[in-house]
Amino acid sequence: MLLNQFLLLGAFLFSTGVYGVLVRKHTVLVLMSIELMLAAVNINLVAFGAANHTVAGQVFALFVLTIAAAEVGIGLAIVLLIYRNLRTADLDDLELLKD
């Protein structure tokens, strides 16, 4: 049963995503990294679902896809508004959370 290979792929993707979220400076790239993490989760869900002979994993993966799409839509809209208001989308310059 090909389970470990999928899990390894998922782990690799997830780590890449975490790395991207932590070090990339552009907000859009951070968003893309989050998508990578979600994709990794999806791979795990489908892999476990197949291994356990249940469709639940695939169903969840579909839900995750839907939510991810919505999240990207909202996220990009927020990034766009931030850029419009502050003329920058660089995370190093955004320190409003401090206040």
Binding site: V18, V21, L22, L91, D92, E95, L96, L97
Partner: protein, 716 residues
Amino acid sequence: MWFLDNAWLVPLIPALSFAVILLFGKRLPRKGSEVGIAAVGASFVLSVGAAIQWINHLRNADGASALGALGRAVGRLSAEGPAVEPITRATTWFESGTFKLSAGIQIDGLAVMMMFVVTLISLLVHIYSSEYMRGDVRYTHYYAALSLFTASMLLLVVADNTLLMLIGWELVGLCSFMLIGHWWEEKPNSDAALKAFLTTRTGDIGLLTGVVMTFFIVQRYTGHGSFNIVALNDAASSGKVSHTLIMWCALALLLGIMGKSGQFPLHTWLPDAMAGPTPVSALIHAATMVVAGVYLGARLYPVFWNGLSIGTPGHGAWNAMAIIGGITVLVGATLAFVQDDIKKVLAYSTISQLGYMTMALGVGAWTAAVFHLFTHAFFKADLFLGAGSVSHSGSHHSFDMKKDMGGLRKVMPQTFWTFVIGSLALAGIFPLAGFWSKDEILVNAGRHGYTAFVVVGLLGALLTAAYMTRCIYLTFFGEYRGGHAHADDGAHGHVVDAHESADAHGHGGPHESNWVLTMPLWVLTALAVVTGLLNYPTWHRFETWFQPRVHFVEAPAVPFNPILAIVSVAIALTGIGVAWAFYSGRLRALHDLSVRNAVARVGKMILVNKYYLDWLYTDVIVGGIKGPIAAGAYWVNQHIIDNVLNFTGRGARAVGRFTYDYIDQKGVDGVINGIATVTGEAGGETQKIQTGRLQFYALLLVLAVGLFAAALWIFT
């Protein structure tokens, strides 16, 4: 059986008509009114079909049984014929686990009767409105709301479970809100709409609680809970469910009835609801909104019967339902005397008549209550539409009897005669409809041991006859007082403006309304004359057709009592005579009594102020929470609590001085200051983590999750 099986179409058609009018109404040649009239007309035809089939259904059942044949042989088909199950159809509404909720229809005599009344009155109101509301600013919207109103009431009528009834009930409330506030540009109108909504909502708290309790009553009996009405009635009359539970359920539902059916002390919204267009008042007061409460009481009667022990009156013979109804009869009737607004007289009259119905339910006279609902619907709709006709063509859209009416008898003969017949029916004059139904209530109250309520009923009959005489005298007799032109049209300015531009016949003076307005009046008058005969003492068709024969309580049938009937008619005639003598000037001694006599003055002041109930609600309850209670609390605080505190304080100070010097300054302060220093420094250190840098937060998050994952891995 097609009509009975497909009775779900009856509420569905007006509901669809609501959507169609709302979406396309403005583009239609007659602005949506044709859709509304056609839809309600179709519902009416279906209801008539259902009624005929139901009667045939009963006849077949009776014919097939020996008991029925025997019943016919003795000339009286009693309601205790063979059991006839209600026609039910249901579909699954939703399922969650093992809990399944179904939605469906339950068609029996009561539902068939109500369907007929609601669709008939609604149809007439729809037709009447096409003339009355012509040229109104929100004509299309008005028809849409009217359709939804009818649909919601019909949903409430055909529903087979209490939850579905609740939905219909709330929709009715919503529509009444929209229609009472139809001319919302004026503050009093939108206030009245809000008042109606909020007051009935107060009662709805009880209804909601009661509906939840019905679920558990059924659960106690059958093992699994359900909102189904048949199951509920079975459970309530089984005697196997705790009496206390049923009693609380009945009381909670009674609160709902009080709110919706304008029972004392929640009746105050009903006269204010006159702010809506007159056809709406007719619909609200005759067939839909306010009788919803009585219908609920009739539908779930076993709950009340057993919960309030109606069948076995204890010492003194009273119960909450009868008391509420009895008080409402008298409160409504007395308040009707001091109103100058013709619609408000009718509104208080409705309150009083609804009191009769609730009282009848309370004294165990189910058939009488439903019968009174049935007859009242016709003559009250007749009176309201008559009042609308008067204001439309006779008094320049005013409803003030003292200022703008009088002497209209000659110019508006059709309106006059229909109004008089409707009033006589309301006053219970033989042989009009109100006589039979009111009399049945009185007879039943007497027979079941509720003697006090017979007196209340007779007193109510006297007052009813008198205030209707006053109303007719002021409106139709004497001199015409509405000579001055459009001076005070403010209250209904919208119709006036629109009406005048659209009106070809102008407004030279009072004149008879055209046939669109008078036709419904005549139909309703005819019904007000004949419907009472449906339950003629030796014929009892109403009881045979409409009283449930299964899943119901057995209230003993009571024979007609000619003496009581004669007494009640005599009392009504006395009321008419005294009021007539007073207003036509033959009883001069009594005129201006309220100016000369202190007792009468106080009495009148109480009545004019509506027993101070509005004052109680808005100023004492609402205002009290806002102002006086706060002020009172402040006073208590300043004078009482402070004194106590000062006294305690002086004693405490001596102790405190000692404590301060030795324990506090030296011991406690040291500890406190130590803690403060540590906290401050820790805060200063941790502040450095709050960089505002998003990715730093993310890093902390990842590290924390990693730490927890590691801990989980190590320790398990």
